[in-house]
């Protein structure tokens, strides 16, 4: 048996206890909990095979009461003695995609982001569409290309046409961007024909991860009318490896910004709550933005209620992301297209003027939130840009 040391000020204290999927050399991926700088193998520590699997899905499907029970057991366990063969230094494990992603939906829930992109993509029109304050706008993304933090991102190729060009050309994306987002993971499914009410949100959603929804702005701009983004987004979406349980985020609840006009009844909550999560975006090691999740207009419960109000079922492993998190200040914008105003206002990065991503660049998004004892961490979602591979021109 061993005891787990939690360093002073750790973002992974007893009030966090996020779940992930890890392996050590020569072993199969399985479920672990992060405590301080250690990972606890839950199949070994709790003697339960539901954790001896390469994703959280089976455990998440067991439901809210079980989530509460396991969290309490893990908390008790790590305060005392843990079997030595269940504990690994986090620096010595490999982290995998924590969930088998079912459907992936991306929302557009930041008023500041939607307004900025409206101004950039449709300069001659009202920045916010008439529907935006009535419903959380969203669309489906490609679940097969959701990858775990650390996966290299190959610069995509595709068609793009600048407004002053007569015809599209094929080639490497020239406006490769990030979107700093928060993603919510459904644990308990809902059947076809059964909308999930805003009140039922905590019984369905297991936890949250950081998301970088890589975006090829030139490809997106040419393709997206009228059916929405497709290849401009589908090449990769990175998520952080640690799923922070909603149960760990209770101290982070804050009211959403005032919603006016009042939403339709199916979107109402007794008190709509968002989350006081502070993100940080680093580009080649330099922090370039601090997006505040608390500024998001639509709440996590409203997004789920909207996604299912037409009777669509949801499945264990569904991932729905918030859309880019941007605050009202320039240094709170969660995408480079906003930070650099479409590339027209470069920012200074390590002494150089920069707009979009170059090959070799690395982006790290991290986040913290209030816990019950201090602050808790989401860890990070990291990705490095590799050059485009040769494709037929």
């Amino acid at each position: 048996m061993t005891t787990i040391d939690i360093p002073e000020g750790s973002l992974f204290g007893l009030d966090n206890l996020p779940y992930g999927v890890f392996s050590t050399p020569g072993t199969q991926p399985r479920v672990g909990v992060r405590v301080g700088d250690s990972v606890v193998d839950l199949a070994v520590a709790l003697g339960d095979d539901v954790f001896a699997r390469p994703s959280l899905n089976a455990f998440m499907a067991q439901g809210y009461d079980r989530w509460v029970e396991v969290r309490a057991r893990v908390s008790d366990l790590v305060r005392g003695e843990v079997p030595a063969d269940a504990v690994f230094p986090v620096s010595e494990v490999e982290l995998h995609l924590p969930v088998e992603v079912a459907d992936y939906v991306d929302f557009y829930a930041s008023e500041h982001h939607a307004s900025n992109l409206g101004r950039l993509f449709r300069p001659d029109a009202e920045p916010l569409m008439p529907n935006w304050k009535h419903l959380p706008v969203g669309y489906h993304g490609r679940s097969g290309t959701v990858v775990v933090s650390g996966t290299d991102i190959v610069r995509p190729c595709g068609q793009r046409k600048a407004p002053d060009e007569a015809a599209p050309t094929f080639g490497e994306c020239r406006r490769l961007d990030i979107e700093a987002e928060l993603g919510f993971i459904v644990g308990v499914p809902s059947p076809l024909g059964s909308p999930v009410s805003t009140e039922d949100f905590p019984r369905h959603v297991f936890g949250a991860v950081l998301v970088n929804d890589w975006s090829a702005r030139d490809i997106q701009a040419w393709e997206y009318v009228p059916l929405g983004p497709f290849l401009g987004k589908s090449f990769a979406t990175s998520i952080s490896p640690w799923v922070v349980p909603l149960l760990a985020l209770e101290a982070a609840r804050v009211p959403t910004p005032e919603q006016s006009p009042e939403p339709l009844p199916y979107l109402r909550e007794s008190s709509p709550w968002g989350l006081d999560i502070a993100l940080s975006v680093s580009w080649n090691g330099q922090e370039v933005s601090r997006p505040p999740y608390r500024e998001m207009y639509w709440s996590p419960a409203q997004m789920l209620a909207h996604m299912t109000v037409n009777g669509a079922s949801s499945r264990t492993g569904d991932l729905y992301a918030s859309g880019t998190i941007s605050g009202p200040e320039k240094n709170q914008r969660g995408a480079f297209i906003e930070l650099t105003w479409g590339g027209k206002e470069p920012i200074e990065l390590n002494g150089e003027p920069r707009t979009f991503l170059l090959d070799g660049d690395e982006v790290v998004i991290s986040a913290t939130a209030p816990g019950t004892e201090g602050r808790i961490g989401f860890g990070e979602v990291r990705g490095r840009i590799l050059p485009a591979t040769e494709a037929k021109r």
Copy 2:
């Protein structure tokens, strides 16, 4: 042992041999082949456990050479004697969703449909967007709500706002529609960063099914700008239970309509081929349209090449559909919004003027194509509309 009788003129002769997933009372779903009016249990007939599974995915992943081999073996087998316990009348089996759907993409590959919808949704603009003839426009749909033919469709609820209304209201969809489409199923996956060329199409795509992409036009019209259709489509997409192998469709190959301007190199084929598949749409037993697949502008291989050109991976079980199939004639339109011109020109259905779907209506889409010996059939995709369930208003 027994022999299988194939009725004269059957659409399920030896030149078809589509695969599906079936069960008999008290047994587990497994893979079968349809021959005449019989279903052959392949796990029993061929003694291979890859067919003793509730989806075609494991078999499809085995690849092109294996598809050819199994097709030849099945063809030999059913010409001779088959174990009696491997043969069931099709009328006595239950048919299930044939594949575990990974990602679902819907294209927009009919020029007639895209032009008609452009005129209806954006009456003051050019009907075809500038990008339409340069790339196959597509978007991701909800794979979790793909259902098998025969599944009842509950009328969805959602937000809708007519142009003359000041604010949206919540309620039942009032403009419930169909979209008659063809869907292609990926058998052999392609890894992240490896586009599938048009030439490689036959080594990746296993077969085709009929698709009814149910559409709530009023919900769609209000929500779809700028990120595309979401709840207007995600409540249900029905597919036919029999997957017709591409190997059975060689006699149905026809050139696509002329493509002008010439597509970019990654979309070129030595000779782009479409499929001469004749669809029929029946509404409450009356045929209302005969959409011709041969009129589709973009070819199946072009759609796959486009979907992966940005490096997106594809997975076994990916389903990509063509979008609504509409020909140049009015009675060839594959959606009611086109057939009735946005509801302004009702059609006569069993003596009554009708526009969109009413509760209790049933729609059946069927199709045939040339085989090597006669015509081959896709069977049908059928769905009946049930009244909306009570939701919070």
